[in-house]
C-alpha cells in the first residue's frame, strides 16, 4: 500500500511543480492545489497503513480494542487541509486583484515591487 502511495505522491508532486513553474499565474495556482494534496498524502503515507478501521474508542472502553489507523497523521492532515484552504482562497483573490490592477496574469510581467533591472544599473560607483 505504501509503495503505491509513494508513487502517487511522487507523480502529484511532479505535476504540481511543473504547473507552478508556469508563467501563467492561474496554472501556478493549480500547481499549488496539487502539491498541497500531495503533501497531505505524504503525511498519510508516512503514518503507515493499518487497514480501514478508524481511530475510535468503543463505548465503555478506555482504549481501542484492536489495531486502528494512526490518529496522529490524521490530526496533522486535518490542520493542513484547513490552512491550505485559507491560503488558496487568499491566493485566488490576490490573483484576481493582481489581474485587475496590472492587467496581466503572467508572473513574468508582474514587476511592480521588483522592476526589471535597467541597462545602466551596473554604474553604481556614485
Amino acid at each position: 500500500m505504501e509503495a503505491l502511495l509513494a508513487i502517487t505522491v511522487g507523480a502529484m508532486t511532479a505535476a504540481g511543480v511543473y504547473l507552478m513553474l508556469s508563467w501563467n499565474m492561474m496554472r501556478f495556482l493549480f500547481g499549488l492545489v496539487v502539491i498541497g494534496n500531495a503533501a497531505n498524502l505524504a503525511i498519510l503515507t508516512v503514518g503507515r497503513h493499518y487497514g480501514p478501521a478508524p481511530p475510535l474508542v468503543p463505548d465503555g472502553q478506555t482504549a481501542p480494542a484492536e489495531l486502528v489507523a494512526n490518529a496522529l497523521p490524521q490530526a496533522l492532515i486535518l490542520t493542513a487541509i484547513v490552512i491550505s484552504f485559507g491560503i488558496l482562497a487568499f491566493t485566488v483573490v490576490l490573483l484576481y486583484r493582481a489581474y485587475e490592477e496590472m492587467g496581466t496574469i503572467s508572473g513574468d510581467d508582474m514587476r511592480v515591487a521588483e522592476p526589471r533591472p535597467q541597462p545602466d544599473q551596473s554604474t553604481v560607483g556614485s
Binding site: L5, A11, H49, A69, N70, A75, I87, L95, R116, V124
Partner: protein, 756 residues
C-alpha cells in the same frame, strides 16, 4: 563653556590619581558582565593608562573650550558636543579597560563616534566619503584585532590584561603567536594610520578643525599606539615584533614626512606630520629597549601638545582668513600676533629646538636609536630624516603664513576670541615650561608609564643639557638639514610633484577599487538572486531541494530497498489512477473549466485514499473543502483571461520545467519509500489512544488530539484562516482610489464609519 566641565572634572580626577600611581599602585574596578563566559567589565589604571587618560581629558578641555567659540554658526552644535563627549568617554574607556573585550567595545565606539565627527558636515560628499573611509579602514582593523585578542585570551586562559601579565604566560612561544601578532597589529596599524593604512588620516581632515585637533593629536590615532605599548610586554621582544614595528614605523615616518612638504593645505600638511609622529612612535615601540620606550612615551606627550596647538592655530587662521592654503597666506604676524606667537612656540617644539620640550624628546630618540639592539644606524637614519623633514614642515605651518609681505584682505584678519587662544596658549607655554623643567613630569608621569610597558622601574632623568655627545651632534645635523629643506621648499615641492606622477598605484586607489568592486558584486548578486521572477525563485528553491536530497542520499547511501505494490487493494489503484489522470488533464487542457474539474477529481481521489486509511473525518473535510474550492475557483477564474487567449504564450512541453518536476517527484517517491522502510515509532499515537478517554473523555481520538491535546495548534490554524479571510476581504474592499466610482464608494464607507 559648560561642555568643558566634564573633561575638566575628569582631568582633575585623573591628576589626583597621579601620586598613587607614581608610587607604583595599580587601581582596578570590575563588575561581572557575561559571567557564563568569564567576561568582566573591568577597568585598570596604571602608569600607561593614566598618562593617556590625562592627555585625553586634558586636551579635551582645551578643544571643548575652543570648539565652543569655533563651532558658532555651525548647524546642530548640540549634536556636535554630545558626540565629542561620547567620543572622549569611549577613548577613556578604551585606555582604561582591563578586559580585552571591554577594550574592543570601547575601541569600536571610538570608531563609530569618530565616523560621526569626521562626517559632521555631512552635506558635502567628501566629508561623507572621508568618514566612511575612516570607519571602514579602522573598523575592519578593529575586527582583526578582536580575533587576535580572542586568540590571546585562549592562549593565556584569561581575558584580563592584568591577569595575563601577572601569570607570566609566554605568548611568544605559542604556535598561535604569529596569528595573534598579525591580527592585533592590523588593528593597531589601521587605527594609528600606519603604512599602508595611512591614507584615511589626511582625508579625515574634512572634519571641523576642533575634531581634527582632538582626534589626530591626543586621541583616536593614539589608540593604536596605546595598544602596541600595552601589548609590548605580552607580544614584544621577538624578532617578528621588532622587525614589523620598526620597518612599518620607519616607512610610515619617512614617507609621510616627505609627503607633508608637498601639501599646500595647512591641515593636510599637519595630517601628514601626524602620520609621521605615529610612525616614529611605532618605530620606537618596536625597539623595545627602555631608552626607546622612554623616547616613545616622551614624544607621545610632546606630540599631543604641539600638534593640538598647531591644529587649533590653523583653525584660527582659517577662521580669520577663510583659507588654509599656504600659498595664499603671508604676513599674518602683523595682524594676528597672538596666533603667531602660539604657532611659533608649538612649531619650535615640533622642530625640537631647545629649550622646548620637543628638544628633549629628540635627544631621547637619538639616544635610543644609537643604542638600539640591531640596525642602530638604520633607525637613527630614519629618525634623522623624519626629524629634519619635520623641521621644514614646522616652518611651513608656524612661520611661512606669518612672515613675508602683508596682503590686502577683504576683511582684515584678526586674532580669535579669547576662548580660541586660551587653550592653545596654555599648551604652548606648557611645552616651554616642561622643556625648562622636565623634572615636573619625568618621575610623576613618564616613569610610571614606561614602567607599565617595560615591567620594571626605569632609571630615567630628563634634562635639557646632556653634554657633548652623539645625540647632540645628530640634533645639530637635523636642524641644519631641516633649515636647508625649509629654504629650498619650493624646489622640494617641484621634485615631489614629479615623483608623485611616477608612482603607479597607491593604497588609497586599492581601497577605492575594493569599494567599487564590492558595490559591483552586490549589484551583480542582487540582480542574480533578486531578479523578481517567480519562476526563477521557484527554480532556485526546487533546484536546491534536488541537490540537497540527492547529495544526502549519495553520502548516506540510503536507498529504498523494496517497493511492494501487490498489497494495494483495487480501489486504491482506482484512486491513484484518478489522481494521476486529474493531474495530467490539469496540465494538458486548454480549458479553464476542464482544469478546475480535473482538480476536483484529484481532490476526490485523495479523499478515497483517506477513507482507505481509516481517516473518515479527514476524507469528509477534504470533500467539503474540495467542493468549496472548486466553486470559488470557478467563480473567480471566469473573470480572468482564458487559456485559449494566452495559448500562444506557451507552446508544447517546457523541457526545463519538466526535468525539474520529474526530479522533484522522483525524489519525493524515493524519500517516502526510504521512510516507510524503517519501523514506525508509535509511542506518541499509543499515548493518545490510551489517554483520549481517561483524560479528555472523547472517543474520537483525532478530534481529541485537535481540540484537547493540541488545542493551541488548532487555535493557530484557526487564526491563519481568519487572517487569510481578512486579507482576502481587504484585497477586495480596499482599493486605491483612482476613478470616481471607487472614490464615492470610499467616501460613503468613511461617512458610515463616521456616523456609526
Amino acid at each position: 563653556m559648560i561642555v568643558a566641565a566634564l573633561p575638566a572634572a575628569l582631568t582633575v580626577f585623573f591628576a589626583s590619581l597621579v601620586p598613587e600611581i607614581a608610587a607604583g599602585q595599580v587601581l582596578r574596578w570590575a563588575v561581572p558582565w557575561i559571567p557564563g563566559l568569564d567576561i568582566e567589565f573591568s577597568f585598570l589604571a596604571d602608569g600607561l593608562s593614566l598618562l593617556f587618560s590625562l592627555l585625553i581629558s586634558g586636551i579635551g578641555v582645551v578643544v571643548m573650550v575652543y570648539a565652543a567659540a569655533y563651532m558658532q554658526g555651525y548647524p546642530q552644535v548640540g549634536r556636535f558636543f554630545i558626540i565629542m563627549t561620547l567620543f572622549m568617554l569611549s577613548m577613556l574607556g578604551a585606555v582604561l579597560a582591563d578586559n580585552v573585550l571591554t577594550l574592543f567595545v570601547f575601541w569600536e565606539l571610538t570608531t563609530l563616534t569618530s565616523y560621526f565627527l569626521i562626517g559632521f558636515t555631512h552635506e558635502t560628499a567628501t566629508s561623507r566619503a572621508a568618514a566612511l573611509q575612516a570607519l571602514l579602514v579602522t573598523g575592519i582593523g578593529g575586527l582583526a584585532m578582536l580575533a587576535g585578542l580572542v586568540l590571546l585570551g585562549l592562549v593565556g586562559d584569561s581575558y584580563e590584561l592584568s591577569v595575563l601579565r601577572a601569570s607570566g604566560v609566554d605568548v611568544t612561544a605559542d604556535p598561535l603567536y604569529g596569528a595573534i601578532l598579525v591580527l592585533v597589529l592590523l588593528g593597531a596599524f589601521a587605527k594609528s594610520a600606519q603604512f599602508p593604512f595611512h591614507f584615511w588620516l589626511p582625508n579625515a581632515m574634512a572634519a571641523p578643525t576642533p575634531v581634527s585637533a582632538y582626534l589626530h593629536s591626543a586621541t583616536m590615532v593614539k589608540l593604536g599606539i596605546y595598544l602596541m605599548a600595552r601589548m609590548q610586554p605580552l607580544l614584544g621582544g621577538t624578532e617578528a615584533w621588532l622587525l614589523t614595528l620598526t620597518i612599518v614605523g620607519g616607512i610610515t615616518a619617512v614617507m609621510s614626512s616627505v609627503w607633508s612638504l608637498r601639501q599646500t593645505d595647512l591641515k593636510q600638511l599637519l595630517a601628514y606630520t601626524t602620520v609621521m609622529g605615529l610612525g616614529t612612535l611605532t618605530l620606537f615601540l618596536g625597539l623595545g629597549t627602555e631608552a626607546a620606550t622612554t623616547a616613545a612615551i616622551a614624544f607621545l606627550i610632546i606630540h599631543c601638545f604641539y600638534k593640538a596647538t598647531l591644529f587649533l592655530a590653523v583653525g584660527a587662521i582659517d577662521h580669520a582668513t577663510h583659507t588654509r592654503d599656504r600659498d595664499a597666506l603671508s604676513g599674518l604676524a602683523r595682524v594676528m600676533p597672538l596666533t603667531f606667537g602660539i604657532a611659533l612656540a608649538a612649531g619650535l617644539s615640533m622642530a625640537g629646538v631647545p629649550p622646548f620640550l620637543g628638544f628633549i624628546g629628540k635627544e631621547l630618540m637619538y639616544e635610543a636609536a644609537v643604542t638600539a639592539p640591531s640596525a642602530a644606524w638604520l633607525v637613527a637614519g630614519a629618525a634623522l630624516a623624519a626629524n629634519a623633514l619635520m623641521i621644514a614642515a614646522a616652518g611651513l605651518v608656524a612661520l611661512q603664513p606669518f612672515v613675508g609681505r602683508a596682503r590686502d584682505w577683504p576683511q582684515p584678519p584678526h586674532d580669535p576670541p579669547v576662548a580660541m587662544w586660551i587653550g592653545p596658549i596654555v599648551l604652548a607655554i606648557a611645552g616651554l615650561v616642561l622643556g625648562l623643567a622636565p623634572h615636573l613630569i619625568d618621575q610623576r608621569v613618564i616613569a610610571p608609564a614606561v614602567a607599565a610597558v617595560a615591567g620594571h622601574d626605569p632609571h630615567l632623568h630628563l634634562k635639557l643639557w646632556h653634554g657633548f655627545n652623539l645625540p647632540l651632534l645628530l640634533s645639530v645635523v637635523t636642524v641644519a638639514a631641516g633649515i636647508g629643506l625649509y629654504v629650498g621648499r619650493e624646489r622640494v615641492r617641484c621634485w615631489l610633484g614629479t615623483a608623485e606622477r611616477l608612482i603607479p598605484g597607491s593604497a588609497e586607489r586599492a581601497y577605492d577599487h575594493a569599494l567599487a568592486g564590492l558595490k559591483r558584486l552586490a549589484a551583480w548578486q542582487t540582480a542574480l538572486l533578486q531578479h523578481g521572477q517567480l519562476r526563477g525563485y521557484l527554480t532556485t528553491i526546487f533546484g536546491t531541494m534536488i541537490v540537497l536530497i540527492a547529495a544526502a542520499s549519495l553520502r548516506g547511501g540510503v536507498w529504498p530497498t523494496d517497493a511492494d505494490l501487490t498489497d494495494a487493494p483495487a480501489f486504491a489503484w482506482f484512486a491513484s489512477a484518478l489522481i494521476i489522470a486529474g493531474s495530467v488533464i490539469t496540465i494538458i487542457t486548454r480549458y479553464r473549466l476542464a482544469a478546475i474539474c480535473a482538480l476536483g477529481a484529484v481532490g476526490i481521489g485523495t479523499a478515497i485514499l483517506f477513507v482507505s486509511h481509516g481517516a473518515v473525518d479527514v476524507a469528509l473535510t477534504q470533500l467539503l473543502v474540495d467542493t468549496l474550492f472548486v466553486v470559488l475557483l470557478a467563480v473567480a477564474l471566469l473573470k480572468l483571461p482564458s487559456f485559449w487567449d494566452l495559448r500562444h504564450r506557451e507552446t508544447g512541453l517546457r523541457v526545463g520545467a519538466a526535468a525539474i518536476a520529474v526530479a522533484v517527484g522522483s525524489l519525493m517517491t524515493m524519500v517516502l519509500l526510504v521512510i516507510v522502510s524503517v519501523p514506525l515509532d508509535r509511542r506518541l499515537t499509543a499515548y493518545f489512544e490510551s489517554n483520549s478517554v481517561p483524560l479528555a473523555h472523547g472517543h474520537n481520538i483525532v478530534n481529541v488530539i485537535l481540540v484537547d491535546f493540541r488545542a493551541l495548534d488548532t487555535l493557530g490554524e484557526i487564526s491563519v484562516v481568519a487572517v487569510a479571510g481578512l486579507a482576502a476581504y481587504a484585497l477586495i474592499k480596499l482599493r486605491p482610489r483612482r476613478d470616481p466610482t471607487h472614490q464615492s464608494q470610499g467616501r460613503s464607507a468613511a461617512d458610515q464609519s463616521a456616523t456609526g
